[in-house]
């Protein structure tokens, strides 16, 4: 009922093509961005910044990374965390060994390196499909984890293998404070989401979906499966790599292989299942869910008389609920939270009518 669409006509394809065709959507977007960049830094406190907002943002970025590969190009992957790790360690080592390299540049380069690794492990996707491909990505997960722990060069010969990340200095400004970390993450994530949105609406995005929906037909209309799939792995790898750097630098504050184990890969996968496969917005919703749900649950159990439930039990209950939720989503709403939002929006556009 907020929508007043009358009179919003497009007289050129450029106008008709724009991401947010309706004025109301554009306004809402700008308001949201304004809120995130201006209001939140004032209102939020350190707990919110470092315990909720930063991980939420980074995980949504990681989600987008995996979604490009799995949700759009239809290539199942359980190696997300590996590519995040590659990004993080690459960025760290670039910072360490290339004096004077700007932080953002080393993030980007970290992403590029992650992309290369992803392509390497994506090569089998040309011959194998579906579950068989899982193995390739799992191999990535284990090999990378092993390499990073085995060769101490990556961790700069640090005994514990856990390195504290350098301060976040960009153009002389220090972003190391929780608020700074938040702003830095937000900026990077927003930029990459914008690019991602363009990407999936571009020709490459269509080709990916074509490969996903019906690869024989895709090949018949001249789409190069090889190119499409490898690009999917590369770009997904880049996103995950950058997400990894942010995870290590802006969230953990340390760079360590354990931050990127198999369970992280699962977490990212769950984000896109809950948020919605083949959706950009869904990644944010999914990440928000994954981050907020345990906190909510914790607070709920906090209300119970103490001693009734210890931390371990709480964790188990969380696991069960999580599993249950995953299944429920797959049964009730396979397209995830994003689909729910779309439905609501669609309904709002035609309210009071039904369609």
């Amino acid at each position: 009922m907020l929508y007043q669409e009358v009179g919003q006509i497009s007289t050129s394809y450029a106008a008709e093509r724009r991401t947010f065709r309706l004025r109301q959507d554009r306004i809402a977007l700008w308001l949201l961005l304004g809120f995130a960049f201006v209001a939140v830094p004032w209102l939020g406190n350190d707990y919110w910044f470092s315990a909720i907002l930063v991980p939420l943002l980074v995980l949504s970025l990681a989600g987008l990374g995996l979604n490009l590969l799995t949700g759009y190009a239809g290539q199942l992957s359980l190696g997300s965390a590996a590519f995040m790790a590659v990004g993080a360690f690459a960025a760290y080592n670039l910072q360490l060994r290339v004096p004077g390299l700007p932080l953002l540049v080393s993030f980007a380069l970290g992403g590029v390196i992650a992309a290369l690794v992803a392509v390497f492990f994506g090569l089998p996707s040309l011959r194998i499909k579906g579950f068989y491909l899982l193995v390739a990505t799992l191999a990535a997960q284990f090999v990378v984890e092993w390499v990073l722990t085995r060769f101490s060069w990556f961790t700069n010969d640090n005994a514990s293998g856990v390195i504290t990340s350098p301060p976040l200095l960009i153009a002389g400004l220090d972003f190391s404070s929780p608020r700074g970390r938040y702003l830095l993450t937000l900026a990077v994530v927003v930029a990459l989401f914008w690019l991602g949105k363009n990407l999936v609406r571009s020709e490459l995005g269509r080709n990916w979906m074509a490969v996903r929906d019906m690869d024989t037909a895709a090949a018949v209309i001249g789409i190069r499966l090889l190119k499409a799939k490898l690009l999917a792995f590369a770009i997904s790898g880049f996103y995950l790599g950058v997400a990894g750097s942010l995870w290590a630098f802006a969230y953990l504050g340390t760079v360590e292989p354990h931050g990127f184990d198999l369970s992280r890969s699962f977490q990212v996968l769950f984000i896109i299942i809950i948020g919605g496969l083949g959706s950009v917005l869904g990644n944010v919703l999914g990440a928000a869910f994954i981050v907020l749900f345990p906190i909510l649950l914790g607070n709920l159990f906090g209300l119970l008389p103490s001693g009734l439930m210890d931390a371990g039990q709480l964790e188990n209950i969380q696991k069960m609920l999580f599993g249950a939720l995953i299944i429920t989503f797959l049964i009730k709403e396979p397209e995830g939270l994003a689909r729910l939002w779309q439905r609501f929006r669609q309904r709002a556009r035609v309210w009071p009518l039904r369609y």
């Binding site: 579950f131 284990f142 085995r150 996968l269 999580f322």
Partner: protein, 293 residues
């Protein structure tokens, strides 16, 4: 040379253990086309239930039966709550569902029995046995024997009984099977139950080997490459795959480890499986489907 064979056979025996988990996979995949990631969780659940019952003074046989019963109940629940609503969904969705399932089962098992490590003693002394100059683990031999017996039992079940017949029918062509009046849900429930039983056996052996704890559910990660090499739909394949992986893993550990470093057994199976895939995209025994367009 002696030593090599010792390593090899040790590996093969360990491989049998992988095969055990893999078989559970294969059963379910054949019957319902579900790639059941929760198999590991089922192993954990079975072992944990069993051992906890023992610790509460339940006699061995009774504990075994009770656990078996609980596995059957679990299977029935899964069929009702998860599989039936998801019927005719793309396999990838079903796979993700089993991911959720494994979370639920793990959570539930530990919620029920706690997360601490339990020792499990099946009464087999694990001192090495000397056979023609080679030192072989008694336990591994026992495990191999059990696995062999299990496989024999299964193949009898599936080749001699009506149930087995209808199962193979379902595996071949679900629609045709339904047409001749086979009740898919019942078959599924049955297969999951059998898988649960296999899980139980695997759980006992693995539990006795590693101690019963959360990490048991990770044996699923060992089973994956086994399946890849053996193909998802062949019990024989699962065993062969298991042997190959087991042997390769041990050999790599012994001969490659010193060179490139320890801890490689985590990924060697996967890389091996990958290499297999590049040669035979559908595994050793799985056959490639012709795409009709």
């Amino acid at each position: 040379m002696e030593f090599f064979f010792e390593v090899l056979i040790g590996g093969l025996l360990a491989g049998v253990m992988y095969a055990l988990v893999a078989i559970g996979f294969v059963l379910i995949y054949k019957a319902s086309g579900v790639f059941n990631f929760a198999q590991g969780a089922m192993v954990l659940f079975a072992a944990l239930t069993f051992v906890s019952l023992l610790e509460r003074g339940v006699p061995f046989a009774l504990a075994f039966l009770a656990t078996l019963a609980s596995m059957v109940v679990l299977a029935l629940l899964i069929e009702k709550v998860v599989l039936r609503p998801l019927v005719n969904r793309p396999p990838i969705i079903l796979f993700m569902a089993t991911l959720g399932l494994s979370y639920m089962i793990e959570g539930f098992a530990q919620f029920l029995w706690g997360a601490q490590v339990h020792g499990l003693d099946l009464g087999i002394a694990d001192e090495p046995l000397e056979i023609r100059g080679m030192l072989l683990s008694q336990f591994d031999l026992f495990a191999a024997g059990t696995a062999a017996a299990l496989v024999l039992a299964l193949s009898l079940l599936f080749n001699k009984t009506r149930v087995g017949l209808s199962l193979r029918a379902v595996a071949d062509d679900p629609l045709a099977a339904m047409a001749v009046g086979i009740l898919l849900p019942r078959i599924w429930a049955l297969v999951w139950a059998v898988a649960g039983f296999v899980g139980l056996v695997a759980g006992l052996l693995w539990g006795a080997r590693l101690g019963v704890q959360f990490s048991l559910s990770l044996v699923v990660l060992k089973a994956l490459p086994v399946l890849i090499i053996g193909g998802f739909s062949s019990i024989g394949g699962a065993i062969v795959g298991g042997l190959i992986i087991g042997a390769a893993e041990k050999i790599a550990e012994i001969y490659l480890g010193p060179i490139i470093g320890s801890g490689i057994e985590n990924w060697v199976p996967y890389v091996l499986a990958l290499l297999f895939l590049l040669v035979r995209p559908a595994g050793l025994f799985g056959e490639r489907a012709i795409e009709r367009v």
